[in-house]
Subunit: 439 residues, 2 copies
């Protein structure tokens, strides 16, 4: 299901249903860049703390344009996994109830080109995306709105260019109070003057203000009526905030479900998920481990599974999703079990071709399918053993920069490292108790 702002509410309902009944969710994201340069990419010599700092910097520098989430449910009676893939197009919220919300994100030209090569629709991204706004940012906006609606009196210090404006304003208001007029228009030249009007008029219990084409209208009312209006405005702001939070509600539901989350080379994906849609990233690696235990308590990284399992490495000789996923699919077909994974009837899109490769929804589907096939196919992980996945829980693959390299400034994404050159290194967020994928 491709999700834009047009069908987001419907999709959110479907997502809640899917997450409630699934056995695990697979995740993938498309981003606007990875690392500014080689120095910013984790390498073998870095301490764990230094690696985290570099990853945090990447996540805070670049944007997320698409989030793929695919829920897989084991259908016991018929013996297959049912998939529900979502492809969310996301763009940072720009405005809540008339208040601008600014977000800065970086882009790497080569990352944008990568998206283009995979037929990414940039117009759809900007024009149709689901917005997002973290709880913390939403709280700050609400506070600012409350401050704006309830600020009273002249500020302690008025810009010296505005002293005359303030003097005239006070005089006019004092006269207005005495007349029978119900409203008075107050011309303002800029936002600072508008702020002054709101504050100064705020001193009067029986006067209200409202914007009128860049100016301010001052109006009379009872204290009670005015207080009610303030409450109504706050109510309307809260509704706008809920709408602006948009995609964050999906990540909240994913986290609240505490279901296993599977990714392929997933470290940046989950850090982006945390940082963009949940909370600011913690300052240290240690705090991150604790935060992750709450945020997504069980993760499986299929790249780590392959890289750390000699039999899989020898059999497939690659841990790139682009390469291993089609091999596994062919094997599954040959094993006369192409129906090991079927789409839920409401999610008819076929991701089995490589056409949609690198669309986040398709990649999430393929990641989950890869794990299932590794578990179910002969020669894969030990089957029929509930403990099969235990060694892989919460170990996440880290793509490390080669110590010496030659291509000009091209960042290496995990998988370009050969067997003999790099050992697998991993971040262990925390060691959970004995758990398997189906919990």
């Amino acid at each position: 299901m491709d999700v834009t702002r047009d069908n987001f509410n419907e999709a959110l309902t479907e997502f809640h249903e899917a997450i409630a009944c699934c056995d695990f969710a697979a995740i993938d994201m498309e981003m606007t860049g990875l690392y500014e340069n080689r120095d910013n990419q984790p390498n073998r010599l870095d301490s764990m703390e230094k690696r985290y700092k570099k990853l945090k910097r990447s996540v805070e520098s670049y944007g997320v344009v698409q989030v793929g989430l695919c829920m897989f449910t084991w259908i016991e009676d018929e013996g297959y996994y049912e998939a529900r893939p979502f492809n969310f197009n996301v763009f940072p919220c720009t405005n809540v109830g008339g208040m601008a919300v600014e977000t800065h994100f970086g882009c790497k030209n080569t990352a944008i080109e990568f998206l283009a090569k995979n037929s990414f629709d940039f117009n759809k991204w900007v024009y149709k995306s689901v917005p997002y706004l973290k709880y913390g940012d939403a709280d700050n906006l609400l506070k600012a709105r409350v401050e704006q609606l309830t600020s009273r009196g002249e500020p302690a210090e008025v810009d010296k260019g505005q002293i005359e404006f303030v003097r005239e304003l006070k005089q006019k208001v004092a006269v207005f109070i005495m007349t029978k007029q119900r409203t008075m228009c107050c011309e303002t030249a800029n936002s600072y003057q508008r702020k002054l009007v709101h504050s100064i008029v705020g001193e009067y219990d029986n006067l209200g203000t409202r914007g009128r084409n860049g100016n301010i209208e001052i109006y009379k009312g009872t204290k009670k009526a005015l207080a009610q209006q303030v409450q109504q405005k706050l109510q309307s702001m809260r509704a706008s905030i809920t709408e602006a939070r948009g995609f964050c509600a999906v990540i909240d539901a994913l986290s609240a479900s505490q279901k296993p989350v599977v990714g392929h080379n997933m470290l940046l994906d989950i850090l982006h998920a945390y940082s963009k849609f949940y909370e600011p990233l913690p300052q240290t690696h240690q705090l991150l481990e604790r935060a992750m235990a709450r945020f997504l308590p069980m993760m499986i990284d299929t790249k780590y599974v392959i890289e750390s399992t000699l039999s899989l490495k020898n059999r497939y000789r690659t841990s790139n999703l682009d390469e291993i996923a089609p091999m596994l699919e062919t094997e599954a077909n040959r094993a006369l079990n192409p129906t090991m994974i079927r789409n839920h009837p409401k999610f008819p899109k076929d991701f089995s071709s490589t056409e949609s490769m690198h669309e986040a929804g398709a990649d999430a589907y393929m990641t989950g399918a890869t794990l299932i096939r590794l578990l179910k196919l002969e020669g894969g992980l030990q089957t029929n053993n509930e403990m099969a996945l235990h060694p892989y829980i919460n170990k996440v693959y880290v793509a490390l920069e080669e110590t010496m390299s030659w291509d000009m400034g091209q960042p290496l994404v995990g998988g370009d490292l050969s067997d003999d050159q790099e050992e697998v290194e991993d971040v262990i967020f925390y060691r959970s108790g004995l758990q398997t994928l189906k919990n």
Copy 2:
């Protein structure tokens, strides 16, 4: 003329013709952001040096997506200005002759939304834009290519994981030399191994290397033939670089022409033009003044013209291009002189409607048209006086942040400052001799 990579060569020829015969050029750009936050925006209290630092930071943080350039030529016999507007879509070059070129640029969500509101086509931008690559960056690429083609011998230090690879490689090459085989395939696992092969084979005068599907083919040849091949490869790299420089050739031609350049609130435009398409920005404001004297020796900023001229301020009460340009157009039509500006026959697009507002080519056209109308209309600048523009030469308007403000983090673009609140402050790059627009 809307310019993409498809018609760039044709457009460049037209541009050379237009710049050669024009009296002045007008410029405008569309960017991915202005200032990261209010602290990064120049304000009244900043020293000139501090202001420059902030502007430099803005220019180095954000990208340029479109450059509008409109050349105006006075047709003496018939008494009108002929316009040739170009709208260049630009995107940083990603690859030259197989070598990746990485560029990082920031985006502000609200700036991207602004582009969207003005119907910007993001797909065209990414898929069809003219590339650009500054001379300095091109030189570095060529140097890297020379190094790659001429590096000889084993590096002083070989990564310890690769010692075995190097030992085997040397053995194989020593055997290959003795056989009658013409070529030998050398399997490599990554770019570092490929670098090692190139270097080690480079020790032999009579062996060459070439890439083959991620591996390297080593082949025999005479010393002379191999040297010729290196020269051919360098020649091909130089051709790729010329192509990759793309839009920079336009800015080179603009600068070389030394023609007057007109902009509206043009400071960021010309700094972007310098930084993105010409040379890195100088470190200090003083060095910038000298650099600008060479780069664009005569600039007129129509926003500065209006803001610093009491009669124009009183008459139009705005210096926003969106507002003043249509007023001046209506006046020109009323004065029965709608043909004061006509498009050159090869540039039939009509920019007189406001539909194309904020397309860079249309805004460049409007900026030039605004200056012409200010000069030609009754009540505008003193007409028939060659010195009329003298007080405005090389004075560029600076949009200053209000000292106190209230909207949440919304950057103020020049023009939101009222007359009584802000005096016009200006950057004077340097004072030129007596010059008028027509030189």
